[in-house]
């Protein structure tokens, strides 16, 4: 006797992001086994990420070296400049005047200032831009002319010595704070109030926290300011000081052992939280003002082992950026050309963020500007995150579901129909893939996603003299509903969709699976 087809709808497949931690069989179908070059879009669907458009017109000045840091200068009057570093140079967009969108990189490296490393951090403070890198005298760019000069050249400088040539700099609470020196990993210096070039006299000072580390010893990696607190990230612990507005009386508020920060450039502010990368995953301080405590939550529980492995394998450093416009936080492992995209619209039940993966990403730095643009640094210069081509090059969007057992892994399943609902992806070649029982021998179904018809308004459909007729599409993107026959059988099945992103966005709304449930094996 024939059995009826059982319909399993994978609604918004993969919208919970990657999950490599739970057993494939026990996973929620909303997780994804693979979500490459994907993001979670504003409808909660898994969708292709945007590409980037190179802005730099003279990337040859980089000599194939990547942009390593991008900084934005903006003063009270709204003047904006973009500074960047790379190829042992300091670059400024535009020759003269403020111009955030100027496309040329202009060398503003101070004369007789030799640079052999490019791990700069750029901060904007009190109408000046400051450049800090371990072992290098800090650089300053003044608003008046946009030139970059060593800090010791700046009039009124005090106490600019090698002792404060830190790797980390923080502009907070009316001061500059610097730490992570060549020979000192436990001292933090702060400048005089509102004067980032005065490191002696006034209310400047320092604090050595070598006796404060909860585990006895650690090394400062990064600093963060949050809610009146000064958060000091060590490699394996975190120390929090309160009343940092008055550094001379700030006092220890909390210490957290066993959790540290792997890199200065992984600390990001998300408005209500501070996110950083530890050697066991992406973490955040949950702000609990009422309880006056700082519990740390893990945001990457679904990919913990993958992140740990990536952290351990990284040799060139990390870059992160938070984009409220895109509602994501990007974490890039530079040497592995691997980027994880954490969606910040919401958390999963366990507090984790939904995460997707961007493989083969050549990004080396980021900067989200005050006007909401997301700048991406690479060997091609400075790019903006927009469009659906990587500098006019296509890229692959790939989704795979976890192992689906349809509720009973002991029974045989025979796929009969696959009906994906795809939003966007105009005229793209898509491949529907499925495999049984943990096999890597995928069966594929290729198809061209229908092209989207543009909206028409006021166009005479029946000749020049006909009555104009308006035509509208059903929505902003075309929704493709296609049905494909499937074959084969197995106890579990993986279903995926892969397509080339070629200028059009694409989202995977739903995959409806019709399967025949067979005998118990």
């Amino acid at each position: 006797m024939s059995q009826e087809l059982r319909s399993v709808n994978l609604i918004a497949p993969g919208f919970k992001g990657l999950n490599s931690e739970d057993s494939p069989l026990a996973q929620d179908p909303s997780f994804a086994e693979t979500a490459d070059n994907a993001v979670i879009d504003n409808r909660g669907r898994i969708a292709a990420r945007k590409g980037y458009v190179v802005q730099t017109a003279n990337k040859q000045v980089l000599n194939n070296n990547p942009i390593t840091t991008i900084g934005e200068y903006r003063d009270a009057s709204g003047d904006t400049r973009i500074f960047s570093t790379g190829n042992n140079k300091i670059w400024r967009n535009g020759v003269t005047g403020p111009d955030v969108n100027n496309t040329s990189l202009n060398d503003v490296t101070p004369q007789n200032y030799t640079i052999t490393s490019n791990n700069w951090k750029i901060v904007n403070f009190n109408n000046n831009t400051y450049f800090f890198q371990r072992g290098y005298q800090p650089l300053v760019s003044e608003n008046s002319n946009g030139y970059v000069v060593p800090m010791s050249i700046k009039p009124g400088n005090v106490g600019v010595t090698s002792a404060m040539y830190g790797n980390e700099v923080l502009a907070a609470y009316g001061r500059l704070w610097t730490t992570d020196f060549n020979d000192d990993k436990s001292t933090i210096y702060w400048s005089d109030l509102l004067q980032g070039h005065r490191w002696e006299g006034g209310t400047s000072g320092s604090i050595n926290i070598s006796k404060v580390w909860p585990d006895g010893y650690d090394e400062i990696v990064a600093l963060a300011a949050h809610n009146g607190l000064l958060i000091i990230f060590g490699k394996h612990s975190v120390v929090v000081y309160q009343n940092a507005e008055s550094p001379s009386i700030m006092s220890l508020a909390d210490t957290i052992s066993g959790v540290g920060c792997v890199d200065r450039d992984t600390v990001q502010y998300t408005g209500t939280d501070v996110v950083f990368l530890s050697d066991t995953g992406l973490r955040s301080f949950g702000r609990t003002v009422q309880e006056k405590s700082m519990p740390i939550s893990t945001l990457s529980k679904t990919i913990t082992k993958d992140l740990i492995k990536a952290v351990q394998n990284e040799t060139s450093g990390f870059k992160t950026v938070y984009s409220p416009e895109e509602s994501f936080l990007l974490l890039t492992f530079i040497s592995q050309k691997l980027t994880y995209c954490f969606d910040l619209r919401g958390n999963l039940e366990d507090g984790s963020l939904r995460v997707t993966r961007w493989p083969s990403s050549t990004y080396t730095t980021y900067k989200r500007t005050k006007d909401g643009q997301l700048f991406i640094g690479s060997a091609e210069g400075i790019s903006t995150y927009k469009g659906y081509l990587d500098n006019n090059t296509t890229y692959r969007f790939k989704y795979e579901s976890p192992m689906l057992s349809f509720g009973d892994s002991s029974k045989l399943k025979m796929l009969k129909k696959l009906r994906p609902i795809i939003v966007g992806g105009n005229d793209s070649l898509a491949v529907l893939r499925f495999a049984y029982d943990f096999s890597t021998d995928f069966r594929t179904i290729s198809f061209i996603i229908n092209d989207q018809v543009s909206a028409q308004f006021g166009i005479n459909e029946f000749g020049p003299n006909s009555v104009p007729l308006s035509e509208f599409t059903s929505g902003e993107q075309l929704t493709n509903k296609r049905t494909f026959n499937a074959r084969g059988s197995g106890n579990t099945v993986v279903i995926g969709l892969e397509t080339t992103i070629n200028g059009s966005e694409i989202s995977l709304q739903e995959i409806n699976v019709l399967a025949l449930i067979g005998k118990t094996l």
Binding site: G202, T203, G205, S206, I207, N208, K211, P247, I249
Partner: protein, 297 residues
Amino acid sequence: MGIFPTVQPPSTTGQGSGGGFFQNLIDGIGSGLGNVFGSGAGNIASGIGGLGLLTGAYNRLGNIGDQALDLGQDLAQTQIEQAAFRPYTVSTSTGGQFGTTVDPVTGQLTTSMAVSPEEEAFRNQMFGGAGQFFQQAATPTAEREAAVYDRMRAVMAPEEQRQQLALEERLANQGRLGVRTAQFGGAPEQFAMAQAQEEARNRAMLGAMSQAQAEQMQQAQLGGQFLGSSYLPQQMLLQGLSPGQTAASQAQQAQLYGTGLFGEATASGIEALLNAGLGQSQLMGTVGTGLLSGLFR
């Protein structure tokens, strides 16, 4: 010769220094004339006898003067001896002695005072103490100031250390041990404590200076007191000397008085003797004058 001279009658043997021969001559002449010339001759003899008597009276007066001179000299010598200073010694109940001696050869008067061994030991002790105190008073105060300051600091140090430790503990609990500020050097609390401790040190230093100066004054006063005390046995001896000297003075007065009495008595005897001699001489002179006047009548 004793202290009281014996007055003897004038000698008639002509042994006087000037009258013996002359007396014998007169006596011989008178006797010869009487024998040769009978009664007329008796007058002559009587005259000669009177002359002899006058001569005898004259000689007797001379002898009496010599004898009075001798007796006066003897009396003076006797009284000098009687009135001579007699050494005496005053002893106090604590063993001190005050003595006066006369050199028998030169007659030099020597006065000596001696205290008892205990008093001498006390005096030496006081004297030594005075020397020490004066020496200490003369010592520059810087060293003493340092010593007093060190002692004050030694007293203050434990509490300061406790406060320091408490502050360190508090700062450590607050994670602020490593704070260095341009304003305060370290943390504000550390600055406040350092300031307080420095003020305490300053006060201690000023206190030490005052204390050293006060002690210097005290040393000088003590030195003076000790020095005064070192002369106390001598003063006591001198005070004890007064009664002794009074007794000696009284004895001397008695001695002098007795000497005076002796002198007066002896002088009276001499005077009586002289008066007797003068009377005798006067009598002889009268008799001799009468006899002599009978010769020429």
